[in-house]
Symmetry: C2
Subunit: 217 residues, 2 copies
Amino acid sequence: MTTVGRLRFRIAMSLDGFVAGPNQSVDHPLGLGGMQLHEWVFGLAAWRAMHGLEGGDVDASTPIVLESVANIGATIMGRNMFGGHPGAWNPANPWNGWWGENPPFHHPVFVLTHHPRPPLALEGGTTFTFATDGIETALARAHDAAGGKDVALAGGAKAAQQYLAAGLVDEMVISLVPVLLGSGERLFDNVGYDLHGLTLVRTVPAPNVTHLQFARR
Amino acid sequence: MTTVGRLRFRIAMSLDGFVAGPNQSVDHPLGLGGMQLHEWVFGLAAWRAMHGLEGGDVDASTPIVLESVANIGATIMGRNMFGGHPGAWNPANPWNGWWGENPPFHHPVFVLTHHPRPPLALEGGTTFTFATDGIETALARAHDAAGGKDVALAGGAKAAQQYLAAGLVDEMVISLVPVLLGSGERLFDNVGYDLHGLTLVRTVPAPNVTHLQFARR
């Protein structure tokens, strides 16, 4: 019998529901003001260690951050999160996204896109596979690749919306940041009128953020 | 020296930012699905006692509900919250709102409207005064009437948006309910790109709701 993991995601959201600000660009991948959503994480020792940095703080956010990356065997992301809008793949001028030569995943990553392209194997065990057969097929492939571990849904908003609306998310952690962005990309647009089986199971107040953990009933 | 109270409001909001569902009407004053925002409160002994009912529960929401009604000397509300869209006042057919003959306020209430009308004195100490000179004048009158106690902003969304955008709110409690409404009236539309001086000071997890308390820096 094969063990199948869960599909999980954690995302930072403003009090007015945005996960990115307006006018996203290569210079401002999170949009105007979007960096405010992540300021609580940068000082954490747990986050710094993941990025090769020493020192930092330990607070109530620490276990949330550590849990979100524990027991993950594969990741799914939207094409914007892979690296902008590359359009059709051009072998003469390949665009390898903005994760650099040694991306921080170290496991198989499935990129949701309409543009077929051969897999891209980078250093450190990260291979980007371009999944053009829809979100359910991408999820099945990610579960296979994860070998029984969980699958992380890395974002962005549109990918999260699609999996939420399809009722395929098993765990969701909203890191609610007490700021307004006013406009930008909303997490819950196009998701419908309920949480598709997810229910609040834990609330964790922490400095400058409140984590709301949802799980499937 | 005159003591001036604070302008405070507490409001229930869905995870996707709505304080009322779509298609509000006399039959569904909170809009479709909007009742979900208030289910956590109906079982509380504190809420039941305010409405003349016995019994009920005590949980982490209890002090939040009690604090929201303590030390209030006057209330401000939008005209929809007074009672729909009465239009210009017609002495031959007065519409006295939907609060009944003995409204639960028991202090002066100022209704933001463009339609002048004489004050409406009802039983139990509640007088509705129709404030047609804008939100700042209404607030000054409410502070005078409150005699040094605080002023409650009862809603709805548009009234809250106007006072938030003007930076006039001193305390705000968002009772965040872990459901989606999908559409309806958003609390933070038209408020802009920041909280106008409000900062998160307390997070209170409670059954089926998380209270986020903001205060002026």
